[in-house]
């Protein structure tokens, strides 16, 4: 196929605007949402750019492999189109319809302009294969974009649900609640270290009263975070270790090189003492005159 020049490029060059109109009409007909794709302001613009990019990418007659460098701008365009569709709530099929609905008008064009049946069959095959790859790529982008969106939302939820609290000047507390998984623990620990830098707090209390179990991975993250905090010039106190967790730690043979206190209150007391503070009860009221 490489030696024979495909006629597709020539025909698209010649009939671009008619093809564009037919394509948009076809999209409107095929769209399950009854013409939403047509009414959507971006579609005509995207379609126009698609045809222009198709001409550019196909200029070297390499129509087999859309992963090649020639097709990079087209891939970028399809990614942009998918992204727009995802945020508008379109399904993957609806998004791919953008590309697949070009087949009908394009095949009609080929049938009109190509006389020889043999050549026609070849060209339809090339066009079909090309549009299939591009359509499938659009579906992949759609899936990827949706995953990224979900990932971002999860991240935001995570950051909202694990606040680092400043208990006192120079003393931070990180109360962890619920089951920790490796990913969440990492994010939480990184934000603790950032807060240490931002606030200049030299002591961070990590409280795990609300954590039912700890596995090796999570324990290792905890240990690494404590080491990192020390390297930076701060120190950590662990509090609220449940009996089961204490057993797990010993079983796993983990070295918890950190001071641990039974409760956050104890940890706070220690932190205050370490930072040179003393808590005094206010003097009892003076006896009244005449008593």
């Amino acid at each position: 196929m490489a030696e024979k020049q495909s006629l597709i490029l020539t025909l698209i060059d010649k009939y671009q605007s008619a093809l564009l109109d037919d394509w948009l009409a076809c999209m409107a007909r095929n769209s399950p949402s009854g013409g939403t794709l047509r009414r959507d302001g971006e579609t005509p613009e995207h379609a126009k750019r698609f045809l222009e990019q198709l001409r550019r990418s196909a200029r070297n007659q390499q129509l087999d492999d859309i992963n090649a460098p020639d097709w990079a701008p087209m891939r970028d365009l399809l990614e942009e189109v998918s992204r727009a569709r995802v945020t508008q709530g379109f399904t993957p099929s609806e998004t791919a319809t953008f590309v697949f609905s070009l087949k009908e008008p394009l095949f009609q064009l080929l049938r009109r302009e190509i006389a020889s049946p043999g050549t026609l069959a070849d060209e339809i095959w090339i066009a079909s294969r090309l549009l299939d790859s591009l359509g499938l790529y659009t579906i992949e982008c759609h899936a990827r974009t949706r995953e990224e969106l979900i990932g971002r939302q999860q991240q935001e939820l995570l950051e909202l649900s694990t606040p680092v609290v400043e208990l006192w000047d120079g003393i931070l507390a990180l109360p962890l609640i619920g089951t920790l998984d490796s990913a969440r623990t990492q994010i939480v620990m990184e934000s603790l270290l950032e807060r240490i830098v931002d606030s200049g707090a030299e002591i961070a209390i990590i409280d795990i009263t609300g954590v039912p179990t700890v596995d090796t991975l999570v324990a290792q993250h905890l240990i690494k975070t404590i080491s990192a905090a020390r390297l930076m010039g701060a120190d950590c106190i662990l509090s609220g270790i449940r009996p089961q967790i204490a057993q797990t730690i010993v079983h796993l043979g983990l070295e918890l090189n950190v001071v641990s206190k039974a409760t956050m209150a104890d940890a706070l007391g220690l932190a205050l003492r370490r930072s040179g503070r003393v808590i005094v009860d206010r003097a009892a009221p003076k006896p009244r005159q005449g008593d």
């Binding site: 990184e190 690494k224 975070t225 905090a229 390297l231 930076m232």
Partner: protein, 129 residues
């Protein structure tokens, strides 16, 4: 070749590493510091690495060397401003900064140096030195 400036704050020397260091610069810094500690009779050396996005074993070795050398010259070394991403990476890398004290920032670093020097002098006084 650019030099890294060394500032004097009281009886402390402050070095702020701003650039991506290559070997010659690191060697030059160690030499300059040694000379300045003696010349200025410095009791403390503070190395500010808050601008460093990467600390690899080469820089780690340099910091350890500076600490060892200043200890011999009766000065305390404190490294300040380590970024969280750097700290996390160093822990993973397995690099320990032995003999290097760390503090969160320059202020705390100076306070730490002050504290150590004062305690040291108290110890000397106690021993009748």
């Amino acid at each position: 070749m650019a030099e890294i400036p060394i500032l004097k704050i009281g009886d402390c020397l402050l070095v702020s590493i701003q650039v991506d260091m290559h070997d010659r610069l690191a060697m030059a810094l160690q030499d300059d510091l040694t000379q300045r500690i003696v010349k200025d009779r410095a009791r403390g050396v503070m190395i500010d690495i808050s601008a460093l996005e990467i600390v690899d074993s080469f820089i780690g070795r340099m910091l350890n060397n500076i600490a060892a050398m200043s200890r011999v010259l009766d000065a305390v070394t404190v490294v300040v401003g380590m970024r969280p991403a750097v700290a996390i990476t160093l822990v993973e890398l397995g690099l320990t900064l032995s003999g290097v004290r760390t503090a969160l920032n320059v202020d705390k670093g100076l306070a730490m140096i002050r504290g150590i020097i004062d305690r040291g002098e108290q110890e000397d006084d106690r021993r009748g030195g």
